[in-house]
């Protein structure tokens, strides 16, 4: 493989390569663009930066934020103020300070809206935009009434120079955001957009994820605002008003600005459409009408230009791969009896005296008048697999929710080893080593399998470990997009990722739903290998009694929220009460 090819394929290097290439293009543009276009190009670059920030909140984390230009105003305000006060350090430092202060403003504005859904954030941000707008109109920017000019950085003072400066800032931010998106933070943002419960169960704080997305977005907007102050010299409120923030939000949706190149595309549209209208002698307000109409179109069809383009590219690439016969087959295949026996015996034995890992005592949950769980006791010993079964509505999933921390109002105590879990939020319990999977699909389709494993394991699984656990459960390879994986297999990916987190206890809520019979058998075999292989004990909720029989040493049966029977498999399965609950009275006669 030639060197160029290798550099471009390398996941770690390619962002820098693309960044450097983009910078070269910008340098060329800075030298070649006609004078009157340079100023517009600066506007496009600044808009791109603001859109990159907005993309994190709207595209990646799935929230509605309507005050991006207000955060930009904060950045511009700081830069203007520092100019008036003649704070030492110069423009670049002021720019960073503007970003930091805007980020802090983001934290303050974001905090109250965090625990609720995106719509509330929309209300808060719109309120913030309008209030700040009104205040700025009255106070103006520092130094504006006196006509103080914000000095541009040394060596970049003319428009062409400042264009290059802005381009450098853009490239630095784009590369940084690329790595952030790829990091666990980025996966957390995507995960929170898909499911808050899933995020919390991965040991990631939902609040922190949302807040970090919002703060990063605001900080980037602040930097964009500082650049605007440098561009225009004296900032005026008209450049940062509420309507423009709305337009920028809509543009972020239309262009799909969580994709970096699409943010650039959006930035270009931001100046191109009004400019074209001006050339044609059409009022420039039509620009926002166009944005609004495109926005309605994009939102109602749940599509955007960026994703459409990317999908087209991946489709082509996949077709090429398939043509080359590279379509990888994966799937869960049962081990032969001999292989399985060897695997079981070669697994390192614990040899320790059995110790209680999960101890639940007196667990009760009430929803209004309904007693969902009454005084439930359950113990899982280290290195074992315990089954929790019962008819529909017996309270099994409520039990899982309660021990995982989603029902803080429950009574009774839950201990994991020596740690008392009572009162801890779900993400803290997950970090202490209690992981769970969900009955519903909670695997964010926007991630790859590998990113998902990294996210769920909180970065603990190495590349080799990830590959090993994926192969163990017959999952597709790490580079596969989850959106291309069928729902049954997604459940296996979920189990594999949680295993990679090496929890002390893994609670599986109907993991085998959606698997074929053959896969069921294979899955049961794998489960039996898990305690010795990964040091993880398992509590499994399952309707398929064959699977339960084949893997569980002891079983607890719930019926109408109470423990009906509990003990080793043989005793419980032959208990007449259990048979009655499952088969009904008449069957017994």
């Amino acid at each position: 493989m030639p060197l160029v090819d290798r550099v471009f394929r390398s996941r770690r290097l390619s962002p820098f390569v693309y960044g450097a290439l983009a910078l070269l293009v910008f340098l060329a543009l800075g030298a070649l663009l006609p004078n009157y276009l340079v100023y517009l190009a600066i506007t496009a670059i600044v808009a791109t930066i603001a859109l990159i920030g907005l993309g994190i909140v709207t595209g990646t984390a799935g929230m509605i934020a309507l005050c991006q230009l207000t955060f930009a105003a904060v950045g511009a305000w700081i830069v203007s103020l520092f100019t008036v006060l003649q704070v030492p350090g110069g423009y670049l430092l002021w720019l960073v300070a503007g970003g930091v202060v805007a980020g802090l403003a983001g934290v303050v504005i974001g905090l109250p809206a965090l625990r609720l859904r995106g719509v509330n954030l929309a209300v808060v941000t719109l309120g913030f935009a309008a209030a700040a707008d009104a205040t700025l109109l009255k106070t103006q920017f520092p130094g504006a009434p006196q006509g103080t000019k914000v000095p541009r950085p040394e060596g970049f003072t003319d428009d062409r120079g400042f264009f290059v400066f802005c381009a450098i800032v853009l490239v630095v931010i784009a590369v940084a955001v690329h790595f952030l998106q790829k990091s666990r933070f980025g996966s957390g943002w995507r995960s929170v957009a898909f499911s808050e419960r899933g995020t919390a169960s991965a040991g990631t704080s939902v609040r922190l994820s949302k807040l970090s997305a919002f703060a990063v977005s605001a900080a980037i907007a602040g930097i964009a605002g500082g650049l605007i102050a440098g561009q225009v010299g004296t900032a005026y409120p008209a450049g940062f008003n509420t309507i423009q923030s709305l337009a920028l939000y809509v543009l972020a949706i239309v262009s799909g600005s969580y994709l970096l190149e699409m943010a650039l595309f959006g930035g270009i549209l931001w100046v191109l459409i009004p400019e074209l209208l001006k050339r044609l002698g059409i009022p420039q307000d039509w620009g926002f009408v166009v944005f609004g109409a495109l926005g309605i179109q994009a939102l109602t069809t749940n599509s955007n230009l960026g994703q459409d383009l990317r999908n087209a590219v991946t489709r082509r690439r996949r077709r090429r791969l398939q043509a080359a016969g590279a379509a990888a087959e994966s799937g869960l295949v049962p081990l032969g009896e001999e292989d399985f026996a060897t695997a079981l015996t070669t697994a390192p034995a614990h040899g320790r005296a059995p110790r209680a890992l999960l101890t639940v005592s007196g667990l009760s949950v009430t929803f209004g008048q309904v007693q969902a769980l009454q005084n439930v006791d359950l113990t899982v010993e280290e290195g074992t697999i315990v089954g929790l079964i019962g008819p529909n509505g017996a309270g099994k999933s409520t039990f899982v929710d309660a021990i995982a921390g989603f029902l803080p109002q429950h009574e009774g105590t839950v201990r994991l080893g020596d740690d008392a879990l009572d009162g801890l939020p779900p993400h803290r319990r997950a970090r202490l080593g209690l992981r769970r999977t969900f009955q519903q699909d909670r695997v964010p389709p926007s991630l790859t399998v590998g990113d998902f494993v990294t996210f769920i394991s909180r970065g603990r699984a190495t590349v080799a470990e990830t590959a090993e656990v994926l192969e163990f459960l017959g999952c597709p390879p790490a580079a596969t997009r989850i959106s291309n994986v069928d729902v049954g297999t997604r459940r296996l990916v979920e189990v594999a990722a949680n295993l990679a987190a090496k929890p002390r206890l893994l609670v599986l809520d109907e993991p085998a739903a959606g698997l074929s019979h053959e896969e069921h058998v294979a899955f049961g075999q794998r489960l039996r290998l898990i305690p010795a292989r990964y040091g993880t004990s398992i509590l499994i909720i399952e309707h398929d009694l064959d699977l339960v029989r084949s893997v569980c040493g002891s079983i607890t049966v719930l019926n109408f929220g109470e423990v009906l029977a509990s003990g080793d498999q043989e005793t419980v399965m032959n208990d007449p009460e259990v048979l009655k609950a499952y088969m009904g009275e008449t069957e017994m006669l």
Binding site: G62, M63, I64, L66, P112, A113, R115, L116, R117, G118, V119, N120, A122, V123, V124, L126, G127, F128, A130, A131, A134, T135, K138, T139, S195, E196, R197, N241, T242, I243, L246, A247, Y249, V250, I253, P283, D285, W286, G287, F288, V289, F291, G292, A293, G295, I296, L299, T300, T301, N302, S397, D401, F406, P408, Q439, Q440
Partner: protein
């Protein structure tokens, strides 16, 4: 102070009316309609345009209101057709786009300068202890209370109300039972469009009447709706009236002019914190 508070009551009335509409929309068609006030604004501007063209004022106002109803119906139709099962966020985002579209459209059609409206209800109604209460104030407060009570009665006592609540809670089940979900949803949009267009037409002469200011009346209105958690109509009315009076009272003190702009936001934040004091997750399970 009292003078100011009473003067703010007219604005409070329009906040309350819009808040009631926002609450109805949030409950019945699962959308926070950011373009709620903009729809009324557009109708009011149409009315002014017709009045300027020497159409009799009553007819001009009627045409403006009709325009608001149609606009609201069109947005409702778009959402009901393409996003029948989308989340509240996704639907509300559409109304952000339509808010942008309506404001910029009105800049094109009517210019960016504030408009002079001829008052529909001119002059004072009565005096309390030397403080004049205008007709607009009385009409707005009555309208707000009447709309809330009428909505409550329709929803809880009539067959239509039962269908609407069924659609709100279980759209698919309602559809399977033969309730015409889409027409009903669009109907809700038409009715709220009508209410808001009437309210803005009445109150526009007393407000800062440029397109953006009128459209952003939705912010104090959503603060009021949040007092009722986008669920309770009575609290939405009380919140709207109280917010108007607080703003009116602070207007008496020039030194508070900066603070005044932040009152809606502060209330929004306070109500949000109150509403979310219990743990909330995005899905029931």
């Amino acid at each position: 102070m009292l003078q100011g508070a009473l003067a703010g009551l007219a604005a409070g009335g329009v906040y309350a009316v819009v808040a009631v509409c926002l609450t109805l929309m949030a409950q019945l068609v699962k959308v926070i309609n950011f373009s709620q006030a903009a729809i009324g604004m557009f109708g009011a501007f149409i009315a002014v345009t017709f009045a300027d063209a020497h159409v009799p004022q009553w007819l001009a106002v009627m045409l403006g209101i009709l325009c608001g109803v149609v606009l609201s119906g069109v947005i409702g139709w778009i959402i009901a057709t393409w996003l029948p099962e989308a989340s509240i966020s996704a639907r509300s985002a559409v109304t952000v786009a339509s808010l942008l579209l309506l404001i910029s459209m009105s800049y094109i059609l009517f210019g960016t300068k504030p408009k002079t409206f001829r008052a529909v209800f001119p002059g004072p109604a009565f005096e309390v202890g030397g403080v004049v209460v205008s007709q607009v104030t009385v009409v707005m407060v009555v309208l707000a209370v009447a709309v809330a009570i009428a909505a409550k009665i329709v929803l809880s006592k009539t067959g239509v109300g039962t269908s609407l609540r069924a659609i709100a809670d279980r759209p698919v089940a309602a559809e399977l039972m033969g309730v015409p979900v889409k027409p009903f949803a669009i109907g809700v949009w038409l009715v709220t469009g009508l209410i808001v267009a009437v309210a803005i037409a009445i109150v526009a002469p007393t407000q800062t009447s440029d397109a953006a200011s009128l459209s952003l009346l939705v912010i104090p209105a959503s603060a009021a709706a949040l007092l009722g958690g986008f669920r309770r109509l009575d609290l939405a009315v009380i919140g709207g009236l109280a917010l108007g009076m607080i703003q009116g009272a602070t207007a008496q003190f020039p030194e508070l002019s900066l603070v005044r702009d932040w009152i809606p936001l502060v209330l929004i934040v306070v109500f949000l914190l109150w509403n979310q004091r219990k743990e909330v997750w995005d899905a029931a399970r």
